[in-house]
Symmetry: D3
Subunit: 141 residues, 6 copies
């Protein structure tokens, strides 16, 4: 079994503000990330898949297929977007990178069986870097 | 003479849209960067200063002084901000990284004589990374 | 469940020398790291915590709280220090990065229940880079 | 228990071409990697070992011993080589990084008992970066 | 005036061997790089251009235009290629990174006036990283 | 003309303390770097040389010769050392990275004519990274 991790990137804006909390509490919790005008990041997304090495091709996954899937489901919908208003699965949520990581893992997991009907490779993990100092990880299996 | 380059960082949102151009032209020129909802980046700013090494202290600049200056003039005013609406010197301009680099270099250059009245070190260069693939540089002297 | 990894850094001096071994054996085992005058490194410390995403705030941990804890317990006590003589939990030990990683993981683990009385997030892992080529990891749970 | 990860590097040429498949199918599967004249990469190899910290020396492994082993078994045989024609354990296989990762993990695992007769440390994982965007991992235990 | 540096990448194979020198001399000069079976690298190419900031658009260059040019002239012709046999301007030369850097700078410079007939921006510099430890630079103006 | 930049590294300990200044002034100027027990860094040294490309070999410098020179003059004398007490050219000086950069540039420049009697390549620049945020540069010509 080999785990392949493929790196994708997107640049996006967001504002951290919980609708269920008051203005002051929001400022206390999120600090400068609560700025009403928003800010943004260069996000790095590592998608890991796990499977046996195909004996004919020497591969665990067709990279063109994986790239097409992740670009269609994630990159094209998150890149150069505002995470508060433009991504349906984040609607009504606070777009922290915890929430974004969870949403991306679940969005991929839901489409995985249709994309890989043979059951290999499996989605293993989604890991997102928000800045060089902060990394978030959701394990899929 | 030694050139010291000190790295700072800020995260910000922006939208590229020229008021003097039509909607279609804006989309053609800026592509996904023209998205009305904005997007954002982790910017890296390298400030270079040049001067002789002080024989008593072995330094070309008091780093605490340089940090305080760049934080007050730049980082505190650009970090976790929207570059289209919150930074006075970018007002009415398209906040491309070319324009941001020029603005930061000029803002530092204007305050330099007051901050370093002895004339050393000199401001030498401002260099900004927008993404790992794009870097912009304004030479000060 | 999300795992968040937060990066910290400290710069420190050390000398590798085992009191229980002779001069020659020490030189044979530690090579240039046994230099009596010491040397040093820029250490990178990745602290990983694991927990559920809080539905109100979208977070697994209050980062200000985590930062305050790691800075008080680790960074302020290791940064710009001599690891042979200035860190009580390393006293009498050879400050290899194995030993430092173990000590930091145990020091954090001991204070964790008081710092996070609700039991979430859990301390998951401490990982230290000594140079770009050497990384050490202690799993907490 | 501490896991130590040590980084090695090699530069090599390869061509992806499956002997069992036709020309057209090879081009469809491997794209530009099927170029008959070959291409190449700077590979990064992370070897992870796991063991208890020796109480006398503060180490989980003698790094000189580990380096000598990995250099003899892997680096000297893969660096500045053509992976299609010069590495016996890849002979007759398509030298994708999946296959290379598997081969290196197995080659190390086979020699491990002779190299570390006391059973510590154990070989834990081999991870290879082919480019900054692609990483492959074989877990040993 | 702003200098913009844009990063491109290509992966290629090469062998260092001077036709004008004997076998033994080639081995003495190029060492393992003289291996007849070839090896390869992940090359990083930084192309720098310099010009005034356009007051309407805030840019020094249309990045889509620059990317199309560098991809057509360089990336598509060097990526996943064998530098000894597949790149006309390197024909009959030893494809050291010095020679590759010179060739790429000259190839871009020759096409520059047709690509940028207004004379702005100017080609300023080509810089190539062969490995993390080796960088080569040709100044254009 | 091509400029080649070659990267070297050393790990060292130092303490910043000016003999000509009082205890309190030293603490005010150098802060935690004045800690009497010392601290340390992983230094990265980029040595740049400039020259024409040799038409027979395709090189601007014999890398084995350059490496042997820099290792003998710099790396072997600075690596795993205490910069306050073990490097003669730093004796009596405050080992800031400004001073270290100047010392290394001058030490190389003094030996350059003997090492490269033909006058090519020329020593162009020495650049040292002390941490990821601090870089110092001495121009040789």
């Amino acid at each position: 079994m080999i785990t392949l991790t493929r790196r994708y990137r997107f640049c996006a804006a967001h504002r951290l503000h919980a609708a269920s909390l008051g203005e002051e509490e929001n400022r206390a919790i999120y600090g400068k990330c609560n700025n009403p005008h928003g800010h943004g990041h260069n996000y790095v997304v590592d998608v890991s898949v796990e499977g046996p090495v195909d004996r004919a091709t020497g591969r665990v996954v067709d990279l063109q297929h994986l790239d097409a899937l992740v670009r269609a489901l994630i990159v094209s919908r998150y890149d150069h977007r505002n995470l508060n208003t433009e991504v349906p699965e984040l609607s009504g949520k606070v777009p922290t990178t915890e929430v974004v990581t969870e949403a991306i893992e679940q969005h991929l997991a839901k489409q995985w069986p249709a994309a890989f009907p043979a059951g290999v490779p499996r989605l293993r993990r989604v890991r997102i870097w928000e800045t060089r100092n902060n990394q978030f990880e959701a394990v899929a299996i």
